[in-house]
C-alpha cells in the first residue's frame, strides 16, 4: 500500500479522496471548444452572413439543409457539444458566485434540467424532422 519509501516519516495521506472530475471537465472545455470554434463559427457564417444573412431563413431553408446527413450531423454535434460546454461553464460560474449551499444546489439542478430538456428536444427535432409536415 504505502510505496513512499523516500519519505518514511510523512504522515499517511487520506488516499483517494479526490476524483479527477475537474481535470476531465477542464480538458473537455478545451477539446469541445476547439470543435465548437469550427462548428459554431461555420454555422453563424452560413446563417447570419452568407447570402442575405438571416433574411433567407425560413422553413424551406431548414428543410433543404436537413435533407443532407452532413448538416444533420453538424447540427447534432453542435447541439450536444455546445450544450455540455456551455452547461459546464455555467456550472463553474454557479460554483464561483453562489454563497449558500442550498442556492448552489438548486441553481445547478435548474441548470441540469434545462440541459437535459434542450439536448433531448433538439435531438428529437433533428431525428424526426418532416419536410412534408402540413401547415
Amino acid at each position: 500500500m504505502s510505496l513512499a519509501l523516500d519519505k518514511p516519516r510523512q504522515p499517511r495521506r487520506p488516499a483517494a479522496r479526490r476524483s479527477n472530475g475537474e481535470l476531465y471537465s477542464w480538458l473537455f472545455m478545451r477539446l469541445s471548444g476547439l470543435l465548437l470554434v469550427v462548428l459554431v463559427l461555420g454555422h453563424l457564417f452560413i446563417m447570419n452572413i452568407l447570402d442575405g444573412g438571416v433574411h433567407k431563413i425560413n422553413f424551406g431553408f431548414v428543410a433543404g439543409r436537413w435533407a443532407s446527413p452532413f448538416w444533420q450531423f453538424w447540427d447534432l454535434a453542435m447541439l450536444w457539444l455546445a450544450q455540455i460546454h456551455g452547461g459546464n461553464g455555467v456550472r463553474t460560474v454557479i460554483n464561483d458566485y453562489a454563497r449558500k449551499d442550498s442556492t448552489r444546489f438548486w441553481l445547478k439542478m435548474l441548470l441540469y434540467v434545462s440541459m437535459v430538456l434542450i439536448v433531448s428536444l433538439g435531438t428529437f427535432v433533428i431525428f424526426t424532422f418532416d419536410p412534408n409536415i402540413s401547415n
Binding site: 478545451r30 471548444g33 463559427l41 425560413n58 456551455g86 427535432v125 409536415i133
Partner: protein
C-alpha cells in the same frame, strides 16, 4: 474561491507586474465569462424556436420573422460579436495552457484577438445589416 491565494493589490495602481487582479488578463477572463453565459442563454431560446419546425412551417416562419426585425437584427450582430470573441479568446486560452511560450505571449495574443475581432466584425456588420439598412433607408 474566485481568487483563492491571489495576492491583493496594495496601494499602487500598477503593482509589481506579477499581479493578475485588475490587469488586462482579468478583463479578458471577465469578457470570456460574460460572452459565454449570454451565448448559453441564447442557445436555450434558439433550440426552442428551431423546434417549431416540428409544429408547422407557419409557426416556424412567423417566429423566425422576429429575427428579421431591425432591432433584433442588431442584437444578432452582438451575438456574433460575443461568440467570435469567446472563440478567439478560447484559442488564446488553449495556447496559454498547451503552448510552451503561451504564457509569455498572452498579452500579445490578446491584442491579436481584438485585432482579428475588429477585422472580421466590420465586414460582418455590413453583411449582417445590409438588407435591414437598405430596407430602412430605401423604403418598401
Amino acid at each position: 474561491m474566485t481568487s483563492a491565494g491571489a495576492p491583493e493589490r496594495s496601494g499602487t495602481t500598477r503593482g509589481g507586474g506579477t499581479l493578475y487582479r485588475g490587469d488586462l488578463g482579468m478583463w479578458s477572463w471577465v469578457a470570456h465569462r460574460i460572452t459565454g453565459v449570454l451565448t448559453f442563454f441564447f442557445l436555450f431560446t434558439h433550440v426552442l424556436d428551431t423546434a417549431l419546425v416540428r409544429v408547422s412551417p407557419n409557426a416556424y416562419d412567423s417566429v423566425i420573422e422576429t429575427y428579421k426585425n431591425p432591432v433584433v437584427n442588431l442584437f444578432e450582430v452582438g451575438l456574433v460579436g460575443a461568440v467570435l470573441y469567446h472563440a478567439l479568446n478560447g484559442i488564446r486560452v488553449m495556447l496559454v495552457d498547451f503552448w510552451e511560450k503561451g504564457a509569455k505571449y498572452q498579452r500579445v495574443m490578446l491584442w491579436t484577438v481584438l485585432a482579428i475581432w475588429i477585422v472580421v466584425m466590420i465586414p460582418g456588420f455590413y453583411f449582417m445589416m445590409e438588407r435591414t439598412i437598405s430596407d430602412l433607408v430605401g423604403g418598401h
